[in-house]
């Protein structure tokens, strides 16, 4: 099928047409259902909100949607690889390459990150006794910019221009010489726009944690999830600008004929360095918050405080620091020389030490406790053995000489899925089950939750365990087929079966959310017998959760209050100023403007670039002239004079 758009001819493959049909039907169905249930006011409320809980929910909702999309891609990849010389639908060559590129990109940037940032938004302000994030308006802007970027990358498929150079986008393959289609421009602008949102979110988190803790909550009395959030935010602040720069100069190479990554002056190695200086901290950005979530959950469900709290905090910080000193372990085969390779091999091994400290501290938190296996705790329990398996393959990979064999094979694929799914995804699921009452006032169904856990975990191990062997038997990454002589058929076939089991598990999770809203089980303020401040406020958390600012005198203040004060938190004599929540269409509009601004660039429409650029800048002017604090003070005065 051929279509004309922006003066270009577009060829449409059958999978794209199918996706369009499905998208249209889903949209129509959605509109009908929303109208029939009279839910439009709720949509408006969420679109204009600046409240941290609702923004957190928006993050989680979009992440779940993208998780399903990238999950379907994963299944497509697995079906294509189920048999040697398989020809599934259109997914060979280019289409397959696009599938694994967008699978990786979306899973990292638009699933792992928003799942964690969403949980941070929901839980962190409540855990530290703050009334909201420090900058509510900026928080909304962060989300809508993230969504604009995510929509760009997701759109690319519908525009028959998916990114196709792998999520690592290695130059010179990603330059316009070798991939002239708009696909990688979508990648560049999508990640760039959502990256701005992520950086702003990080600044917001840092200021919230530094300025808005309840009186008496010193940094060393703070729960570990806010701690991991703080350290992660610093990592984002340092790592993301590097990615911004890398994408910026790649954009120049693609659009304006510079040659940073090719030609006599340029060098493709520059891209690899820039990308991995961002990329390695990125993997710690998506694992540290999960560590924080697990710390809180394991402590709550074992009825014990976190074992070795001090060393847990130090371990988080050391992992964050070392995360910036290991990026070359992604580039051992480039041939940067003996000294470089050995240095980075040793620093990579060192990361195992603080990670090991954390693992043992979790084990000893459970020791001598009373462990209740509700769904969040099941995910935490499943995480420990799974993540340790991923961790030991990580240490094996750090041996540079051995990595010459592993590099770019399925062994690496198995390793990073073990740590990212075993850490981040299980952590996000645990967090969603754990804080669901705080978001909506209802608990998710326990039976379905347990079913989801077992299907997903068993499916996961069946999927990725055999891939280690496929890699050791010489199967490279990112290939769309293999031959019978390769002797990797059994591993791949088992892997495909496991992937479907994981898919069923995820479907159970989505079904569980639907069922729980259909037949709500009301949760109290404190469904899990919690220990930290978020369990002292109503579920769902209201706009101003803390009626009296609590005075924090110990670790786990709510638990301490239960033991010694009949559940009454001591009141603080001083109070913290609350950030001002506004209702505003501006963040959504800014996000959509950025989306069209990027499209104007991707399709080289100069007049549109200029117009939209001015419009985006206009928002800064409007925002600079808005003074909510003075307005609120005036309102309060008028209110008092009545």
């Amino acid at each position: 099928m051929i279509a004309d758009l922006f003066g270009r001819k577009f060829y449409m493959a059958s999978d794209t047409i199918g996706a369009w049909v499905m998208l249209t039907l889903t949209a129509i169905l959605g509109i009908i259902l929303i109208t029939r249930a009279k839910k439009w006011p709720i949509i408006r409320e969420y679109a204009t909100t600046t409240h941290h809980r609702k923004i957190g929910v928006l993050y989680l909702l979009s992440a779940t949607l993208f998780f399903m999309r990238a999950g379907i891609e994963a299944l497509i990849i697995r079906i294509q690889l189920a048999f040697p010389d398989n020809n599934f639908w259109v997914f060979q060559g280019e289409k397959f390459n696009e599938a694994f590129t967008t699978h990786g990109t979306i899973m990292i940037f638009f699933v792992a990150m928003p799942l964690l940032i969403g949980l941070m938004n929901v839980a962190v302000p409540l855990q530290i006794g703050a009334q909201d994030m420090a900058f509510p308006y900026l928080n909304a802007v962060s989300f809508w910019l993230f969504l604009a970027g995510a929509l760009l990358v997701n759109m690319s498929f519908f525009m028959t221009a998916s990114p196709n150079a792998g999520w690592t986008l290695y130059a010179p393959l990603s330059t316009d010489t070798y991939t002239p289609s708009a696909g990688n421009d979508y990648y560049i602008f999508g990640i760039q726009v959502s990256g701005i949102g992520t950086i702003l979110a990080a600044i917001n988190m840092i200021v919230t944690i530094v300025r808005h803790r309840a009186p008496g909550m010193t940094l060393m009395k703070m729960p570990l999830f806010p701690w991991s959030t703080l350290i992660t935010s610093f990592l984002i602040l340092i790592a993301f600008p590097v990615l911004t720069i890398a994408l910026y100069i790649l954009m120049f190479d693609r659009f304006f004929g510079t040659s940073f990554f090719s030609g006599p002056e340029g060098d493709p190695i520059y891209w690899q360095h820039l990308f991995w200086i961002f990329g390695h901290p990125e993997v710690y950005i998506i694992i540290l918050p999960a560590f924080g979530i697990f710390s809180d959950i394991i402590s709550t469900f074992s009825k014990k405080r976190v074992f070795g709290y001090g060393s847990m905090v130090v371990a988080l910080a050391i992992i964050g620091l070392l995360g910036f000193m290991v990026w070359v372990h992604h580039m051992f085969t480039v041939g940067l020389g003996a000294l470089v390779n050995t240095f980075f091999a040793v620093t990579t091994m060192l990361i195992a030490v603080p990670t090991g400290i954390k693992i043992f501290n979790w084990l000893f938190t459970m020791r001598k406790g009373v462990i209740r296996f509700s769904t969040p705790m099941l995910f935490a329990a499943g995480f420990i053995p799974t993540f340790v398996m991923g961790g030991v393959t990580g240490v094996m990979l750090s041996a540079a000489a051995a990595d010459l064999q592993y590099h770019d094979t399925y062994f690496v694929v198995a390793h990073f899925h073990y740590v990212i799914i075993g850490g981040t995804v299980l952590g996000a699921f645990a967090g969603i089950y754990y804080w669901f009452p705080k978001m909506f006032g209802i608990t998710l169904n326990e039976t379905l939750g347990k079913l989801h856990f077992w299907l997903f975990l068993i499916g996961f191990h069946i999927t990725f365990f055999p891939q280690h062997f496929a890699g050791l038997n010489g199967m490279p990454r990112r290939v769309y087929t293999y031959t019978a002589e390769d002797n990797v058929f059994v591993f791949n076939f088992v892997s495909t079966l496991g992937a479907f089991l994981m898919g069923i598990g995820t479907a159970v999770f989505v079904w569980n959310i639907y069922k729980s809203f259909k037949k709500p089980q009301k949760a109290g303020d404190d469904p899990w017998n919690g220990r930290t401040l978020e369990w002292s406020v109503p579920s769902p958390a209201p706009e101003h959760p803390f009626e009296n600012t609590p005075q924090v005198v110990s670790h786990d203040p709510v638990w301490e209050a239960k033991l010694h004060r009949d559940g009454e938190l001591p009141k603080a004599s001083e109070s913290r100023t609350a950030p001002i929540d506004v209702v505003s269409w501006q963040p959504v509009m800014l996000g959509s403007l950025m989306l069209f601004f990027s499209l104007a660039f991707i399709y080289h429409v100069t007049w549109l670039q200029v117009t939209l650029g001015i419009a985006v800048l206009g928002f800064f002017v409007v925002r600079a002239l808005t003074d909510e604090h003075t307005k609120k003070a005036k309102e309060d005065q008028a209110h008092d004079n009545v």
Binding site: L173, Y178, V346, H407
Partner: protein, 234 residues
């Protein structure tokens, strides 16, 4: 029971690993790498077993039952001696792993600049999606490389377009092939036979099909083959 059978099948899978290409080296380089992989694996198994045993034990022993449902466990902050133990022991373990790693990494990186005597020099040109091999004397083959047994081979790698990665699993680890730069890889095959070679770095549409075969012949047969090829050229 389910878990047991799963573990058993994993074990069977692992034992069948003896037939895996990476564990069937035909050169000293690949033998070293294979050793390092297995060595690090057994070191890591120690860690894995310790964690799994503790994990299973704590999970089982301290689970909630009808008796302890309402007990509040004793409060403990932590334990300095324990913390030191699980900091120092892993460091020792990593030192044990780091020593052979550093030594081998140095060996394998140093060989890039060395010039072995009696070596065969082969120019390897990678381009989307084929390999061209040029031998001394100008003989060219495509997607098929023939090597003599027991003589060091120096591959001079370069790429015509994007980054590729030159990999013969049973001969040893891979080396990236960069456009506009010369990289070298030196190996000495020790067994005759036919082996797979692959591009390991994603390089575009048909990356999966960018493969070549490696034939290792006895020195006599190699010489004979080379002479025949030269004749055909003329």
């Amino acid at each position: 029971m389910k878990k047991l059978s799963f573990l058993f099948s994993c074990l069977v899978l692992f034992l069948s690993g003896c037939s895996m290409r990476v564990f069937n080296p035909i050169s000293e380089t690949a033998r070293d790498q294979s050793f390092l992989i297995l060595f690090s694996f057994f070191l890591m198994m120690i860690v894995l077993v310790v964690v799994f045993v503790m994990f299973a034990r704590f999970m089982w022993k301290y689970r909630e039952t009808e008796e302890n449902k309402h007990t509040i466990p004793e409060d403990e902050e932590g334990n300095k001696a324990f913390e030191l133990t699980w900091t120092i022991l892993p460091i020792i373990l990593l030192i044990v792993l780091a020593v052979p790693t550093v030594r081998m990494t140095y060996d394998m990186s140093a060989e890039v600049t060395s010039n072995p005597a009696n070596a065969v020099h082969i120019e390897v040109t990678a381009q989307q999606f084929s390999w061209t091999f040029t031998y001394e004397g100008g003989v060219q083959t495509i997607n098929n490389v023939t090597l003599p047994k027991d003589r060091p081979v120096v591959f001079h790698l370069n790429s015509k377009d994007v980054i590729h990665s030159f990999w013969i699993p049973r001969l040893g680890g891979k080396r990236d092939v960069m456009p506009g730069e010369n990289r070298r890889l030196i190996v000495t095959p020790e067994e005759t036979g036919t082996y797979q070679g692959k591009c390991a770095e994603f390089c575009g549409v048909d990356h999966a099909k960018m493969r070549f075969t490696t034939e290792v012949k006895s020195q006599q047969a190699y010489q004979q083959w080379l002479n025949e090829e030269k004749k055909e050229m003329e």
